[in-house]
């Protein structure tokens, strides 16, 4: 008995029973494809939700002047402390390792006027990094430029609430001149609406100006009220906080024994919500994957088991003409491997195809990852091979007489 003959025997057995081979393969194809599709949908939803939470600013950190003291003792309002300066901002921009964007924040309250409409609000002086930090997007017009910041230009970008109140007629606000207190301002862009946040605050009640403009022309001050930044990823928030602390302490020439003369806060509430939501989704996904794999595996197991069992007589015949147990086992193992691997590969194509179809037709978020494809392929193929091998082993150990008389 040689390997070539075994392969020929196995190939012939597959070719002569196309229907049976096809049905067996179908079990594996459906198993692999459904697992890949389920996981792609699950993973896609998970990423979508993660992105939605991230848009709430989960990786945002806020730097304020003044030490973070315990309760008790008189303290000044953070806005009145002058320890946070533009030098701090520039050092953070130049030295940070974990930040995606940094922006100074200075704000002042006042009245906005356009024609016979007015609106009481506050303006915020920022750099263009603020858009990244707060996940804001420009809907029309554009963000003010670096040049505007250098020249303390009298320009602003406004939110939807401002537009609604100043331009009730629906006129295009971009290019219009409004007045803040007595200073005329040109609207260069309008922000995309974000609605209310989880605290009930209107996130569209916002006017952004170059921080230089607010500092020089409105507040006439040289210090910053706070600095906002966003970490590169949500997981790097703690690293970023440590990094900024080091930079600011060096900057402020603090000795090791001194307390910080600033405080840094992150969006702990959002980030802990994110962590718990993600771990729940991961668990859910693991359940979906587990159940799909078990269901797929049982389907494969059944069809392999039945197809080998119904061939008991064939096994008996082969043994009576001189096949050894090992020959029978090898033949069925080769058949099972060929069917399972081919089925697994086709299943992978179908799974990826079905996922893309769901994405195109239903518009669901889809994420196909290498590990899910590999996992479903491996589990289904190994199940297929095992349950092809196991009954064949049983059959190979049968007495040829019993096998050939098997009904």
């Amino acid at each position: 008995m040689n390997a070539t003959n075994l392969f020929k025997i196995a190939l012939k057995a597959i070719a002569n029973n196309k229907m049976r081979s096809f049905l067996t393969m179908l079990g594996i194809i459906i198993g692999v494809a459904s697992v890949i599709t389920m996981l792609a949908i699950g993973q896609g939803s998970k990423e979508q939700i993660k992105q939605n939470i991230a848009e709430m600013g989960s990786n945002m950190i806020m730097i304020r002047p003044g030490e973070d003291r315990g309760p008790g003792g008189a303290r000044m309002s953070a806005d009145d402390m002058q320890s946070l300066t533009l030098t701090d901002y520039e050092n953070i921009v130049n030295q940070n390792k974990y930040l995606a964007a940094v922006s100074p924040v200075v704000s002042s309250g006042g009245q906005l006027i356009y024609g016979n409409n007015n609106y009481q609000t506050s303006v915020t002086g920022v750099s263009d990094g603020y858009l990244t930090i707060r996940q804001l997007k420009i809907e029309s017009g554009e963000m003010f430029s670096e040049a505007d910041i250098k020249s303390s230009a009298k320009v602003c970008v406004v939110g939807k609430t401002i537009v609604d109140n100043l331009f009730p007629s629906g006129a295009d606000p971009v290019g219009q001149i409004i007045r803040f207190n007595k200073i005329p301002m040109k609207i260069v862009g309008v922000l995309k609406s974000k609605g209310y946040n989880s605290m009930g605050m209107d996130q569209d009640d916002i006017v952004l100006m170059p921080y230089t403009t607010v500092m020089k022309r409105i507040l006439a001050q040289t210090y910053l009220q706070s600095i906002y930044a966003s970490a590169l990823t949500e997981g790097m928030t703690d690293l970023a906080i440590a990094d900024v602390t080091t930079i600011l302490r060096a900057d402020h020439r603090l000795r090791d024994t001194d307390d910080d003369d600033f405080s840094i806060r992150s969006q702990e509430e959002i980030s802990s919500m994110m962590t718990s939501t993600m771990s729940m989704l991961t668990l859910l996904l693991a359940c979906v994957a587990g159940i799909s794999l078990v269901v797929g595996g049982i389907g494969i197991m059944n069809i392999m088991y039945v197809s080998v069992t119904e061939r008991t007589r064939e096994i008996g015949l082969r043994m009576s003409v001189g096949a050894r147990g090992i020959d029978i086992l090898s033949q069925f193992l080769i058949e099972a491997i060929m069917i399972s691997v081919t089925g697994g590969l086709i299943g992978m194509l179908f799974g990826v195809g079905a996922s893309l179809l769901v994405k195109t037709l239903a518009g669901w978020p889809i994420s196909i990852q290498a590990w899910t494809v590999a996992l479903s392929f491996l589990v289904c193929t190994i199940t297929g091979v095992f349950f092809g091998w196991y009954p064949a082993k049983k059959a190979a150990n049968l007495d040829p007489i019993e096998a050939i008389r098997y009904e």
Partner: protein, 247 residues
Amino acid sequence: MKPIIDLDNIRREFVVGDEVVKALRGVSFTIHEGEFVTIMGTSGSGKSTLLNILGCLDSPTSGEYRLDGTPVRTMSKNQRAILRNRKIGFVFQNYNLLAKTTAVENVELPLMYNGDVSAGERRERAVTALRRVGLGDRLNHKSNQMSGGQMQRVAIARALVNDPAVILADEATGNLDTRTSFEILVLFQELHHEGRTIIFVTHNPEIAQYSSRNIVLRDGKVRDDSLNAHMLDAAKKLAELPVNDDD
């Protein structure tokens, strides 16, 4: 004449539950090359057990069995498989062909398990065997496209293809109508005349008349072992039979 099969006090016991069933209780005989032996017996006489032992599918509990000079009882399963492959040709009552497989491929099967035979030689020997049984024009017919008689011819070709020391037929005509049965019997007689050793297990006493020797089993023992001096010619009988209308 060379002894092909030599049985010496063969016993075979099965344990069924608490009971020991003695299927064979000391069977001894010798079959020489070129004999056409029928083994007869009612059900329960032990003839199936004897056939399994003769075919190296089963081992005796005690006693010695030499097939073509080789002692079989102490052989392992794998050794017996190889012995079956080289020395024995089986013909079963229900043909046992591979489904949806051509005649040639079915006949090639025993040689597939013999690594010494090349693909070309395998095909050649299968075609020769099929021509020998009169199916030279049906080489590539599939097993489900053939009649019972044709299927049994394929099975006989498969038994011949490894040039065995002995052909073991188990009720080989049991599923066939009278005319086809005689056609198969004619084929066996021809093989006998060519010098092949044939053992035909049956419960049909008529067949015994066409063989050269008849062994009758009862209750696990040889009750009668006689040579047949007046062997009938199956071809003559076939000629006397009415021709089937649908043939």
